[in-house]
Symmetry: C2
Subunit: 314 residues, 2 copies
């Protein structure tokens, strides 16, 4: 007769540019969402106080406070729990978040880059479960990535690995941030997809589905048989497949998980990714490889962070 231990809980916090979303997490499940906090227009100290309060509130019904994991969009020292700076939130330069919150809460508080947190969540409980080597890519305004190699989150020597959006598909191509030519994000980021589509509609003498021509609009247009929209997804899939092929030659993974807003266009996008990738890799490499949509959606980051917090040594 055996008693299985109860699955431990942790707080997972998905720190976004316009909303900090705390949640009480148990394994793959979000038990309760806390009230979101807007970091814009507030100092880091104010947001940290609001986060402390939200954490205490989410733990009200528990025997005590539980470990906390926070996924942040920016350059984060996950080893020492320090935020070096956030992409779209001013005032977070060199903030020792783990030290501040763990001092107040007396529980472990860990930080992680948001793309890494999502990758870890998808690997542990989502689309990459039961694999050894998984690449997770998020397609949105930016293109992020996280790597699980040999069953471990791989962070690299300066904790800055996994920047798939900054890898290049054309060494003489379009310039991205940091001046790197052919930067993937400069081709398949949300805004770039919209801009390219608007240009293509104008060139074809057709009216675009909307003034913004968002990926969602282009998805619907492609499903309605619009050749311009289909052409855009074909180009984006070709480019993503080329970037993924480089990862495959280098890392020979089991699976590439694709998440984020653009990935919602899976039915019009994935066949082109797969065609492009297959034409650029060897059978040994691509025979067992799966390209799959993320399954945890917006919860992946909080779930991954909570799991990382429970793994942390106190």
């Amino acid at each position: 007769m055996s008693h299985s231990a109860p699955i431990p809980c942790a707080i997972g916090i998905d720190f976004g540019g316009t909303s900090i979303k705390p949640a009480l997490v148990q394994g793959a499940h979000i038990l309760q969402h806390g009230d979101p906090i807007n970091p814009q227009g507030h100092t880091a100290a104010e947001s940290l106080a609001a986060m402390e309060s939200a954490i205490r509130s989410l733990c009200t019904g528990l025997p005590g406070l539980v470990p906390v994991g926070i996924g942040l969009p920016g350059f984060v020292d996950s080893l020492h729990g320090i935020v070096h700076g956030l992409s779209n939130v001013p005032g977070w330069d060199e903030v020792p978040v783990s030290a501040i919150l763990s001092e107040r809460l007396k529980v472990p508080v860990i930080l992680e880059n948001d793309a890494n947190a999502m990758a870890y969540g998808e690997w542990l409980y989502g689309a990459a479960a039961n694999t050894r080597n998984a690449i997770c890519v998020t397609l949105g305004t930016g293109v992020g990535g996280g790597l699980i190699l040999e069953g471990q989150l791989y962070r690299g020597s300066q904790l800055a690995a996994g920047e798939i959006g900054h890898t290049s598909i054309d060494y003489r191509g379009i310039s991205g941030p940091y001046g790197n030519l052919g930067c993937l994000e400069a081709y398949v980021g949300n805004h770039q997809i919209s801009t390219r589509a608007l240009t293509a509609y104008a060139a074809a003498g057709k009216s675009a589905p909307s003034a913004e021509c968002t990926p969602k609009d282009l998805h619907d247009a492609a499903l309605s048989g619009c050749a311009v929209a289909t052409g855009i997804w074909e180009a984006v899939g070709t480019e993503l497949g080329a970037a993924f092929a480089n990862i495959v030659w280098l890392l020979n993974p089991d699976v590439i998980v694709v998440g984020g807003g653009v990935a919602k266009a899976a039915e019009v996008l994935f066949p082109h990714i797969e065609r492009s990738l297959k034409s650029r890799t060897s059978p040994v490499m691509n025979r067992h490889l799966r390209i799959v949509p993320a399954t945890l959606g917006n919860d992946a980051g909080a779930i991954g962070c909570a799991a990382l917090a429970l793994n942390a040594r106190t």
Copy 2:
């Protein structure tokens, strides 16, 4: 008072397309080279018998036979010790080399892809010593690579990782093997460098340094101030820097070790690699990164294999 244990010996065998080179290895040192064996025109069984004899001969002065590591150019199942096939040596399809030789010799016999073996040697005792994350690239007729990640040889899910020569620098570029467009090897492989140089000399109305226009010839020409040769190295360095930038964004390593014949042109090539790489990566990524020539030369493979053999569980 402490007695340090003697450094154990192992046999390292560098299996090349025209020469199988066995050696008795102790740590970073080759104690004795065995007679090379030509695999061409012989069956696998004949070559294996010659290897067995060479191994026994190299161990003559030792108390007994020692573990054996073999680095091979091709697709190798290092987990089960099976050669699936070799790049330029016919007759080696699905040969269980480890089982055959360890049955005869009663010592562990391990196999490894040659680029991985070289990477492991350079990481343990050469240019990448004392690093956690090292990328090793060999430039020659082909462009090979091996990855040491978090202090472990990273092989990937089908043991096929590290194929840097097949990553692409231009998704609409020159076609390589497997049909992948922009394949690095199709730009910077030995033959491609020579062909490009001959074309450049013809276009400039100048005579090439030799009919073959080898990388060695182009190195000497560049040192003599030849603008055509300098231009070739600038282009090759730009292309290598672009391929390395993709690796850096993805893996954020400590060091990239460059070995093989073309790397001997370090003084005319490395500054261009570094310029290209720096212009394509962020300061966080490139501030601590070193690009260094391999230091173990032709011995890296045998040294790496011998070390892997000593690590093997019996």
